[in-house]
């Protein structure tokens, strides 16, 4: 005699984990494992670059220019991904490029998420004029073409690591602000916040101790996806030449290097771009997976 729980037929059915077929569950986990592996690989590559790279990234060679990759006719294992127009080993430069991309990305994320979150919580919690003011600035920052600003900075400060970080940070915080403000608004009316107010806690304390821990979940999701986007932005700048200056390789500048040799050395431009795409997609999938995992149904408060 069984009386089991029933999925409500008339309500819009949301899939429950207990009912999902095994196949789907494996696929779902795969959607996390592969991107996570890519990320871990990226971090390891960045850290261990000097040991992983077979050659120094700036070692030029006049005789070994534009050699094809190992798996193409004419190539050899000596230069697995071939060499570029100055005879530099593409694989090594790609490895060092990972280091550049990741460090720029992480630094910008640290700065922008910090500022953006602080502003977002403030705007969301305090409301009124503060909110309106912050959001107006955020809107402008969001709709301002970042590349142009980056060029202005490049002109006045000269290209370099910190110029890139600054360029990306000046406008980059706005995405976080909007999101965090939304989450703050949602939490602001919860009972535990009301309790804290009744207990006489100051707004600052409430924002720090009550609101902030509760916006961590969506924040983590966004940060994960931001890694990829920052890499995209930095590579765009480097491609145009206003990013990381040579001889340090950036995936973006490597694509630019190969621009004039498309007819005889397509690999110079192709591989860095594929890598960028791979990292960004991994970030997106990982973020999606995290977001699903942290669905309020399953979240512990």
């Amino acid at each position: 005699m069984q009386t089991t729980m029933v999925p409500n037929v008339e309500a819009k059915s949301k899939p429950r984990y207990t009912g999902i077929s095994r196949r789907r569950r494996i696929l779902k986990n795969l959607a996390m494992i592969i991107p996570a592996a890519v990320f871990i690989l990226l971090i390891l590559t960045a850290i261990l670059a000097p040991w992983l790279a077979p050659y120094p990234y700036d070692k030029t060679s006049m005789t070994e220019r534009r050699l094809p990759p190992a798996f193409v006719e004419g190539g050899s294992m000596k230069h697995f991904l071939g060499t570029d127009n100055l005879g530099r080993d593409v694989l090594s430069r790609v490895i060092y490029g990972a280091r550049v991309s990741l460090s720029v990305s992480l630094m910008v994320i640290a700065i922008t998420s910090g500022i953006g979150t602080a502003l977002g919580i403030t705007a969301g919690y305090l409301g009124g004029r503060t909110d309106a003011f912050i959001m107006r600035i955020t809107d402008i920052a969001l709709s301002f073409p970042g590349l142009l600003l980056a060029m202005l900075l490049a002109v006045s400060l000269g290209p370099g690591f910190f110029t890139v970080v600054l360029a990306l940070s000046i406008l980059g915080w706005s995405g976080y602000t909007r999101l965090i403000r939304g989450e703050t608004l949602r939490i602001r009316n919860s009972d535990f916040v009301a309790q804290a107010r009744i207990a006489g806690a100051s707004p600052f304390r409430i924002m720090l101790r009550h609101i902030f821990p509760n916006i961590l979940n969506p924040l983590i999701v966004v940060v994960t996806m931001a890694v990829g986007f920052m890499i995209l932005a930095e590579s765009g700048m480097s491609y145009l030449g206003i990013g990381i200056p040579p001889p340090m390789p950036s995936w973006g500048s490597m694509v630019a290097d190969g621009r004039n040799d498309l007819d005889r050395a397509w690999w110079i431009s192709m591989f860095p771009g594929i890598l960028i795409g791979l990292v960004v997609m991994s970030g997106n999938f990982l973020g999606d997976w995290l977001r699903d995992k942290m669905d309020p149904r399953l979240r512990q408060l």
Binding site: L148, M151, S156, M281
Partner: protein
């Protein structure tokens, strides 16, 4: 409604002012701007003359006032490198950018709207999955790389399309394609998800209950509501488009504002860069204002609110 517009206009002007201030300070950020103008043959006397001409020997406040005055009069200064008015250079470059930008925008919008709606109405079909996949790919791969790969395939390998020049319509294919690529994935995704949300709503159900043909249910009832969400991100899209234009013009050597900006950046011709930045700021802010107004038109709740 009128009050809404006026409020927005004032905010826009304020924002513009803020940006001009920011640009002013940025340019002077590295200290003496003339440092950037120094060439190997310049003598201290020549530099002093230049400094005086630029008014750099005056106080910051005075400088700022002159800067504002000039700009509002339309005097954007002289290019260092080309020794001609910045205005002229811009007048030459702008039409080219528009020739590229406007068709790209129109095609991009039409494509993303139709594909997004199509994907939403044929949910989970091969069509839908294909579009979702393309959108993910499109957002992950860098635009400049895709453009270069396109050049590799269509220009170098198949020799079908030219990668430079502006003479005939076929020259437009790759550049416009690239520009469209910059906006398509995100817009398409937005339209699709917005449409999906709306299609689930009760009033769409009611429209079907009324017995309306599916065509009308989708385009008159669902679509109109689905537009609201993407419209709010139109501002951000525009920012992306500007970046996209810069990159596209660079790749295809298109003599527009983007290429001008880049070359001026490299030659340290900062009056040009400064002017372009401010002009673009005006355009972007202006477009945002337009978007806000059209948003009010589409969503009656905004229109009627006494804010």
């Amino acid at each position: 409604m009128l009050r809404f517009i006026i409020l927005r206009l004032l905010q826009t002007i304020l924002a513009l002012f803020g940006i001009m201030v920011m640009v002013f300070f940025l340019v002077r950020a590295s200290g003496d701007p003339t440092v950037l103008m120094r060439s190997s043959t310049s003598t201290p006397e020549q530099m002093a003359i230049i400094q005086h001409k630029l008014g750099l020997d005056k106080s910051y406040a005075e400088q700022f006032w002159i800067y504002l005055k000039d700009y509002t009069r339309g005097d954007f200064g002289y290019s260092f490198i080309q020794q001609r008015p910045v205005v002229t250079m811009i007048k030459e470059a702008l039409p080219n950018t528009l020739k590229l930008g406007i068709p790209s925008f129109v095609i991009g919008m039409l494509l993303s709207l139709s594909l997004g709606v199509l994907a939403a109405t044929r949910r989970d079909s091969i069509f839908d999955n294909g579009i979702k996949f393309l959108a993910v790919l499109g957002q992950a791969l860098p635009g400049f790389w895709v453009a270069i790969m396109a050049v590799l395939i269509f220009s170098v390998h198949w020799k079908l399309l030219p990668a430079a020049g502006m003479d005939s319509p076929i020259n437009y294919v790759l550049p416009v394609g690239t520009m469209v690529f910059f906006m398509l994935p995100m817009m398409m995704r937005l339209v699709r998800s917005s449409m999906l949300d709306v299609l689930d709503s009760e009033y769409v159900k009611l429209a079907r209950i009324k017995g309306l043909p599916e065509r009308i249910v989708i385009w008159k009832h669902a679509f109109r509501n689905a537009l609201i969400a993407p419209l709010t991100t139109a501002g951000m899209m525009l920012a992306g488009m500007v970046g996209g234009a810069i990159i596209t013009e660079n790749i295809f050597n298109w003599p527009g504002m983007g290429r001008l900006a880049i070359s001026s950046t490299f030659s340290r011709d900062f009056p040009v860069v400064q002017t372009i930045t401010i002009l673009v700021a005006i355009i972007v802010l202006g477009m945002n204002l337009l978007v806000d107004i059209s948003y009010a038109y589409v969503d009656p709740q905004i229109r009627y609110q006494k804010s």
